[in-house]
Amino acid sequence: MKYILGSLTVIGASILAANPAYAQAQNGQELIGNTVDVQFASGVRNIVAFGPSGQARITSADGTLSNASWFVRDNQLCLQTGSVSECWGYNQRFVAGRSFTMESSCNMTSQWTARSVNPAPVAPPPPAEQGERG
């Protein structure tokens, strides 16, 4: 396994370094069908594509492609390849173009920048009474 993301060796607690102003449980919906750039302090850069049914593809800078799966559990965003997983604290929605510094369960710090995200659900307007407004 090449150096993809952290080390994908240990599942454990991790910290979201970017202080969430409106922290709440997230489910990862904003990432589905979108890609995130992950940049490490060492300069290594990966691209993670989050698929619709928990599939993920991780592309390293040299073009190496790794299939993985992703899931959200206990306020952590996790990637798994085979039997190994690595998780990042996740209690704030990603915002397109905004970088978040995140620390993994493997104590690896990296910057995550979603290229695009799905919008937050919009509360539907209250239903109008039947009729035509004229």
Partner: protein, 418 residues
Amino acid sequence: MIYRNFIFKTILILCSINLQIGASYAQGDGDTQMHYVDAQLHPDAAKHDAIIAGNFDASFQEAEPNFIEKSYDIALRKYQLSWGALPQNIISEGAPLSLGDRGDRVSALNQRFGLEGRVFDRALAKKITQYRRAHSLQAGAFADNILIESLNRGSQYYVRKISLNKYRAAELPSDLGEKFILVDAANQMLYMYEDDQLKAQMRVIVGTADDPTPMLAGYMRFSVLNPYWNVPSDLVRDRYAQRAIDGGENYIKTRGFDLFSGWGEDAQRLSYDDVNWNAVKSGEQKLRFRQRPGPGNGMGDIKFMFPNRFGVYLHDTHNEESFALDKRAISAGCVRLEKPWLLAQWLHGERPKTDSNDPEQIINLETKVPVYISYFTAVPIAEGFSFREDIYGRDVRLSSLLEAVFLPNALQDSTLYP
């Protein structure tokens, strides 16, 4: 394509940690964002299907821009090339300037257009003429305070406005439909398209700023001849209860209203005296107000239906003189049509007829036709853009939404519009 990417995505809910997925579409409120009455008209309908099907590759495919959005792309690029990179110095207002004038204000004007000198020469006159065309200002080669006010807003003001409208164009699907109806509430016009070509247009009346016509996308499914007007409860409470109190039973009779205890099939027909009008006015009592077909009916002689939660439809009106107004935002939210029978003929292939006076005669369309009610305050034209009044104040709200929710500073980032 960053701009597109952050606009329209399906909303997906990961229901549990085993990644069971349920899905629904991103649903706008109809004010800042489009509300989709029919999910198939969402720009990401294909992507949504791919996500539901678990198709990894297809789930990343972005929707192809529709031809309206493409026209914004081209026009915006042209606008930025022509006007975006010029100096943005401020020019003092004052007496109109024209060919032969000279002085500090002329110097500032020259600088603003990337020219030099203190004289209002032919080069400056040409630039001003072009600028006026590009911004739909009064034609001419003079610099009055209206022109200077426009120049002093700066090109970013216009780029931002155009970008907001490009966003609205991108709210429409890639495939707009073989035939489709586009209502532009900002311009109070309706356009009928066939094979992406404009076939006809007409004036319309839209909602007031207090009762704005929402932005909707839905399928027109049927027309109704000799329609009833079913008055929504909030209008009965806020408008008609007081009129009924003031005008008494005579008002109800002369206006052709029927009164019912509710909206269900078991609703009782009521007389004027059965109703506690003050309770209706205060909202304590719900009352169904239905106006019979005939002269003065709020729906006119035909209404066009695409059932939606806002109760907003296209319809005829007997108040035809209102179409002569320049500003036609005077309805309670519905879209009143200047030429309803032209639309009817285009939709049905022939003018729908009836030999009966029966009310509420439904005529289904052979093929459902998309209706898009949008709101464009900047529209590409041959020389640049036509800028319109933001009658509902939506530009500010959309701008705030895009900055706050999606991508901070996106609208100032010119790299988004290469």
